[in-house]
């Protein structure tokens, strides 16, 4: 065991910090439902941050760390699938990558747009195709999710088949989502803690009320362990670890999103506070890969057969 960051990891994360600095905050009155930045995306690609997994000294834990770090930004970045899943299928697949469960086209796909690569994962293997305008229906404009989402209305007859194990891709997908959720959980917690420490009612900071302190402290425990579960799953490559990591993150997401919106009161309903950017991304992630129940079944299968 060696759980502290090594020099390479620290360096990469520091690089990302400085590169992402201009995107770390958003002006309070300029927040839309789904924030994206093409420049940020480009900078990440140019500097190779989404390709760290393939670099021998860096590997999957580094990829998970990158995903976690980027998820903390108020801006939505398609990093998880690209950094953790793409290298296992074909590192040259054009981004953004949209992962889809076979037969689940009814669900909104994150980052779906013309030119995106849709990867379909399921019993009949792993296949991909490039999305074109005529296959895409936009989601309604004021959808709340904090990610750009759209619907796939049709799929091409012929897709590229990839000679990879679908179970392995599913595993990496779970780890990638768990790492992304960990970052979102961390950012949402930090944002809430700041608010309730500053906001006063009854002549004292809200954070001095014990009822709130205990819930926030439990939320911290869930957030912290979601981080470690995601990193461990990335490191071990185990199916059970991956399923448990995503299960844990999805459980945590349900719990904390409710708490944080409660603790912000009316402010939590506005677009003028950024909390919703992280919580609505987390909410959408609770639906990923069938939700907690499906992760639970996958974990049980991996653990006990």
């Amino acid at each position: 065991m060696q759980l502290s960051l090594n020099e390479d990891q620290t360096q990469v994360l520091d690089f990302i910090d400085s590169l992402a600095k201009p995107y770390a905050t958003v002006p309070m009155h300029d927040v839309s439902l789904a924030l994206e930045s093409a420049e940020l995306d480009e900078a990440l690609v140019e500097n190779g941050f989404l390709d760290v997994m393939a670099v021998e000294e860096l590997g999957p834990v580094m990829a998970a760390l990158v995903i976690e770090k980027l998820a903390r930004l108020p801006f939505a970045v398609e990093a998880a699938a690209s950094a953790m899943v793409r290298p296992l299928i074909d590192p040259e697949l054009p981004r953004p990558l949209c992962l889809m469960e076979e037969g689940k086209a009814r669900k909104p796909l994150r980052f779906l747009r013309p030119g995106a690569t849709v990867v379909v994962v399921g019993p009949s293997g792993v296949k991909s195709f490039t999305a074109t305008e005529n296959m895409i229906a936009p989601a309604q404009e004021d959808t709340l999710y904090g990610y750009p989402v759209a619907f796939l209305t049709s799929q091409p007859d012929s897709m590229t088949s990839h000679d990879v194990d679908a179970a392995e891709i599913l595993r990496a997908w779970r780890v990638a989502m768990a790492a992304e959720a960990a970052g979102l959980l961390g950012a949402a917690l930090a944002s809430t803690v700041t608010y309730v420490s500053e906001r006063k009612q009854f002549g004292r900071p809200l954070a001095t009320f014990q009822g709130m302190r205990h819930r926030l402290a439990e939320d911290q425990v869930l957030t912290n362990t979601a981080y470690w579960m995601a990193m461990r799953a990335a490191g071990t490559g185990s199916q059970a670890d991956a399923a448990m990591a995503l299960h844990h993150a999805q459980e945590a997401a349900k719990r904390v999103c409710y708490d944080y919106h409660q603790f912000l009161g009316g402010m939590g309903m506005t677009l003028e506070h950024p909390l919703h950017l992280w919580t609505y991304r987390l909410k959408l992630l609770t639906a990923e890969l069938g939700g907690r129940g499906a992760q639970g079944l996958a974990a049980a299968e991996a653990l006990w057969g």
């Binding site: 009161g265 009316g266 677009l271």
Partner: protein, 381 residues
């Protein structure tokens, strides 16, 4: 105990349903996605409430002296349930018939009753509730908007926030400070929203267009006769009206209807086979029904003429639990519902997520339950 509705109550419910069926436009479900305070729904409600008034189902629960049929709390509950499940086609006017009207009747001067009750009964007025302020939310008694009596007029200065309907309301039920006594220094003033010096700013929100606002009062001057009740009587009066409001919205019914809709959509998609989805759905259903029983227990107290205290907090918290579960269920298993696949589910989501904050935070309800139901010793000050 008896858990069935009477034949008359069933007939009353069907009368409302039939009316809604006959009078809501075909595209209503898509339309009602506009929040209850949106310009679109407010305009719609101005016509729809007139029809309700003509059909005798705008305020049938009001006493006969007020022009109602004196039907009572169960019928008021049934009316509210059917309207809320349908997406609240009365818009903000539900407040009028639930608590503004009865409160005017109980505490208003003859002049105030004459001026304000008639437009309510004709389905023609929209009120807003100016209680919360930037520094007075859960701690409402900390409010600072001042009203000073000068030469027979009140001059009002200050700011309200989160005010629903403010953008389109014609009158504000405004809480002001007239002396420094925390609770007994608060006075209600009924302020026409077109009075000079009032500025309204809409706050962009997760719950749709037109819902929450900031309202600024800058030397807003109204005659002394606009005061509602005595100086310092506000706390008593809003205690009365908020108790009505806390039950005013039967949210558990829409939560249940949204759940049923979601399950149907899952069945249609062939995704209702797995046991964990069924177990989660059943858990949500039980929470909705639990909230229903808690709400009905409070209605019974009203029927019996008993005082309503912390029971309403208990019912509200049960409702928050149900809303939370259904909102989470829908996103977990039907995330497309909020992205365009179901206007009804999106409408429910946007109304459901405020359950734990609007009209007093869930955590404040827990404090009330702890102190008044459990009679736990209080935290030392």
């Amino acid at each position: 105990m008896q858990f069935e509705w009477t034949e008359e109550q069933d007939a009353f419910r069907h009368k409302i349903r039939d009316f809604l069926h006959a009078n809501l436009p075909d595209d209503w479900e898509k339309f009602s996605e506009h929040g209850p305070a949106s310009p679109a729904l407010t305009a719609f409600a101005r016509e729809f409430c007139v029809k309700l008034a003509d059909a005798g189902i705008l305020f049938p629960h009001w006493p006969v002296e007020m022009g109602g049929e004196g039907l009572g709390p169960w019928e008021q509950q049934i009316l509210a349930e059917e309207m809320w499940i349908a997406g609240e086609p009365r818009g903000g006017q539900y407040m009028n018939v639930n608590w503004i009207g009865p409160t005017l009747e109980k505490y208003g001067t003859d002049e105030q009753k004459k001026r304000y009750l008639e437009p309510i009964t004709k389905g023609q007025s929209l009120w807003c509730q100016g209680f919360s302020e930037p520094d007075a939310g859960s701690d409402l008694a900390a409010l600072r908007t001042r009203a000073e009596l000068k030469d027979g007029n009140y001059v009002i200065n200050g700011q309200k926030i989160w005010t629903s309907y403010a953008g389109l309301a014609d009158t504000c039920f405004l809480l002001t400070r007239t002396s420094d006594d925390r609770k007994r220094g608060i006075t209600i003033i009924l302020v026409p929203m077109d009075t000079p010096g009032i500025t309204v700013r809409q706050i962009p929100s997760l719950i749709g267009e037109g819902d929450i606002h900031e309202v600024f009062f800058d030397d807003v001057t109204v005659p002394e006769s606009a005061r509602f009740g005595d100086e310092g009587q506000a706390w008593e009066i809003i205690g009365y009206s908020l108790r009505n409001e806390r039950l005013g919205i039967p949210r558990f019914t829409l939560a249940r209807a949204a759940l049923d809709r979601a399950v149907q959509m899952l069945k249609d998609a062939g995704d209702f086979d797995s046991e964990y989805v069924k177990i989660e759905a059943a858990r949500c259903a039980a929470l909705c029904e639990a909230a229903g029983t808690a709400n009905y227990a409070v209605v019974q107290r009203r029927v019996d003429g008993l005082a309503i205290g912390a029971e309403s907090s208990s019912a509200r918290y049960a409702t928050v639990m149900a809303e939370r579960a259904v909102c989470e269920f829908v996103i977990e298993f039907l995330p497309e519902g909020l992205a365009g696949a179901s206007p009804y589910l999106k409408m429910h989501h946007q109304r459901g997520i405020v359950a734990g904050v609007a009209a007093g935070s869930a955590e404040i309800q827990l404090n009330i339950i702890a102190s008044e139901v459990l009679e736990l010793p209080r935290e030392p000050r």
